[in-house]
């Protein structure tokens, strides 16, 4: 049993690594898809001649075969000299100045930003991770805190009024885009009623906990909506399924008080599958961060992504893509492993 578990974890880990590798492939393809090539951003300056472009592609090593470029991006190019004739594979800037050799994303070197004038991509991303996590985590907490009870409640009152109300609410909030609700609430609550600040993470020069919570409230609630809905649905469904199980009937039959039946037998079993649902929700938050961070001026990865896309900052786009994929994959992996520990029924086949 324990052995099977270890084997399962190792296999899942390897599988996740494979997924990360695929994500790097996709990320690298983005770069190649850039219309007019990665140097298109230089178009700002009409006086740049074809010779300039050639010079710069040699400098950045864009004239190398794609596979070599990918290898350099992945593993760095400083070690190319070990290979026979490998020096020819290095980019121009690397050959001139060893300090400017790429070290590859494996060593967390995502290159330098085009738009942010030479800033390290990894620094730009890392400084934004906390904001995204803060928003994501708080909306996760809210959606769990609201979703589980409402799901349970709906299930226990299936077909009655509370169930209908919860069902209708979940449908209603799903019918208009969430960013639109967010912006509408921001303008009404922030602009007219002045209950919440108009976006941002903290009042400049304040940054105390109450101030941060004040800023966090609306974004967290709005971005929790989608998570709340799915959690509530999952909970309701799981509860209903467990309630139909024979052991629940047995428990009831032996005269166990209803609240104990629910607490001991139903909830425990219903909450387990919910953990798997969590991984999906985790991903929703990562993806959703783009829209919500834009609406609420939240300085996280999503906004960086929009800036990078609008300014065609391909190194940042690739970096963001790979890092957020990595975080997503690791999140799923962790949830799966956690799940395999808590649920003894899980099968460890692949």
């Amino acid at each position: 049993m324990r052995q099977a578990l270890t084997r399962y974890i190792i296999r899942r880990g390897l599988q996740s690594l494979f997924l990360v590798w695929i994500a790097t492939l996709i990320g690298f393809t983005i770069y190649q898809l850039a219309p007019g090539g990665p140097l298109q951003f230089l178009d700002d300056d009409p006086k740049r001649t074809a010779a300039d472009f050639d010079r710069l592609s040699a400098l950045y090593g864009l004239n190398r075969p794609i596979l070599v470029q990918y290898l350099a991006w992945l593993t760095g190019e400083d070690w190319f000299t070990i290979l026979p004739g490998g020096a020819a594979w290095q980019s121009g800037q690397c050959r001139v100045n060893a300090e400017r050799c790429g070290r590859g994303i494996l060593r967390l070197d995502f290159g330098r930003s085009f738009y942010f004038k030479g800033s390290n991509v990894i620094d730009l991303i890392v400084e934004r991770i906390p904001a995204t996590f803060m928003l994501g985590f708080s909306s996760l907490v809210i959606s769990v805190a609201v979703g589980i009870p409402s799901g349970i409640y709906a299930a226990l009152h299936r077909g009655k009024l509370p169930d209908h109300i919860i069902r209708v609410t979940t449908v209603l909030v799903n019918t208009v885009p969430e960013w639109w609700i967010g912006l509408l609430l921001l303008i009404i609550l922030g602009g007219y009623l002045r209950l919440v600040p108009l976006g941002g993470m903290e009042t400049i020069g304040d940054g105390s906990l109450p101030d941060r919570l004040h800023h966090l409230a609306l974004p967290a609630v709005v971005s929790a909506i989608s998570g709340w809905i799915s959690i509530s649905r999952i909970m309701r469904f799981e509860m209903l399924e467990v309630l139909n199980q024979d052991y629940v009937r047995t428990a009831r039959a032996k005269g166990l008080p209803e609240h104990l039946v629910i607490w001991r037998h139903v909830l425990r079993n219903a909450i387990l599958p919910f953990v798997t649902g969590l991984s999906g929700i985790f991903l929703i938050f990562l993806s959703g961060s783009i829209l919500f961070e834009l609406v609420f001026s939240w300085p996280g990865m999503g906004r960086l992504a929009v800036i990078a896309i609008n300014s065609r900052d391909y190194p940042v786009m690739m970096g963001l893509f790979v890092i957020s994929s990595f975080l997503g994959i690791m999140g799923v992996l962790m949830v799966d492993i956690l799940y395999s520990f808590v649920d003894p029924r899980v099968k460890y086949e692949l």
Partner: protein, 359 residues
């Protein structure tokens, strides 16, 4: 990997659809029972009616704009920019006056007596508007270029619903085919590949990728639907794979294998009908999801570009006018709301109906 299927809205549908066994009471085929159950569900019927109205409105948008409203959605009128609905022309300034009295000191200073004037002016306006010849009454006001908002919203419905349908058909087709294949070939090489694709797409930030791709390719409605659809089939596929697990060892499948039926015949003749109800339900939800996704992309400036109206791009940027021209906010909001609401209710109703013998 074969962990327990991730439950969710789809899984809910999946399980409740388990094949009817011994509960037959009347001589009724499955679809007859579904229909009978649907006809008893008033809410779903209303939703179907509502959606039908929206679809008809959108499909006949050209005729309605031309013959009923008398406005072309592309005809601009710079002298009537951001004009309120014609029937509210008198009432709107009074309403604004009312909100101003409220702004002075909260609810306490509101002059509620103004509402009498607002109502009577609106009623008169409505009566005049109904009697007015076509081409003179803007039922939902005009937008910033003086175009009729209602006819634009109708045309926008064409695009938005088209995107919804395209996305649903693309993701359903992909999801069903790949789901059937991977379910049938479970635990083989083919299944592994499909699973790897699903896992990859399931663990990378798809919205991010979608934005980048639509930036690069600047697709029209069809291209955009393709992009959204290609990234949206994984749920269906997983669901169907799970379903097939439960039926592929059934006797009738074994039997048809034994008599030498081809794989495709087994997949499409025997397995697909058994999962069709889930496919329908999920497909219905997909339509709504796609309409909303397009609106999100429009907000980011990568959806359907102007001048083509879509509900999404009508919403984008309209919120700034929330106080001075709320009809710009309400019109696309209302259309999206009614459409997706109908779709969700239909989906929910169908899920119940497709399980006709379950109480």
């Amino acid at each position: 990997m074969r962990r327990k299927e991730a439950p969710g809205s789809d899984a809910e549908a999946a399980v409740s659809v388990s094949i009817p066994r011994f509960r037959r009471v009347k001589e009724q085929t499955y679809w007859q029972a579904v229909l009978a159950k649907l006809l008893r569900d008033k809410l779903t019927l209303a939703a179907i009616f509502g959606l039908a109205v929206m679809v008809i409105l959108s499909v006949t948008a050209g005729w309605i704009s031309d013959q009923v409203l008398g406005f072309d959605p592309t005809t601009t009128n710079l002298t009537r920019r951001n004009a309120p609905p014609t029937w509210a022309e008198v009432a709107w300034p009074i309403f604004q006056e009312f909100t101003q009295t409220c702004q002075a000191g909260g609810v306490t200073t509101c002059r509620w007596s103004l509402w009498k004037a607002i109502f009577s002016a609106s009623l008169t306006g409505l009566r005049d508007c109904l009697a007015a010849p076509r081409g003179t009454c803007h039922w939902m006001g005009t937008d910033q270029a003086g175009r009729d908002v209602l006819s634009r919203a109708l045309y926008g419905g064409r695009i938005s619903m088209r995107i919804g349908l395209y996305v649903a058909s693309i993701s359903m087709t992909l999801g069903v085919v790949l789901g059937l294949i991977s379910g049938y070939y479970a635990a083989t090489f083919i299944d592994d590949i499909i699973n790897a694709i699903i896992q990859t797409l399931g663990s990378i930030p798809l919205l991010f990728l979608l934005i980048i791709l639509s930036r690069i390719f600047q697709p029209g409605p069809e291209g955009l639907s393709f992009l959204i659809g290609v990234f949206g089939w994984m749920g269906v596929s997983r669901l169907i794979r799970g379903q097939i697990f439960s039926i592929r060892e059934r006797e009738y499948i074994l039997a048809s294998r034994a008599i030498g039926a081809s794989i495709w015949r087994i997949l499409f003749r025997h397995i697909l009908p058994n999962v069709s109800s889930i496919v329908i339900v999920v497909g219905v939800f997909n339509v709504a999801g796609a309409i909303i996704a397009e609106a999100g992309l429009s907000y980011l400036g990568v959806g359907i570009g102007p001048p083509l109206p879509s509900w999404g791009n009508m919403m984008q940027g309209s919120l700034g006018n929330f106080t001075d021209a709320p009809w710009l906010v309400l019109a696309p909001g209302l259309f999206i709301f009614l459409t997706t609401l109908s779709i969700y209710l239909i989906g929910d109703g169908l899920r119940d109906a497709l399980d006709p013998w379950v109480k």
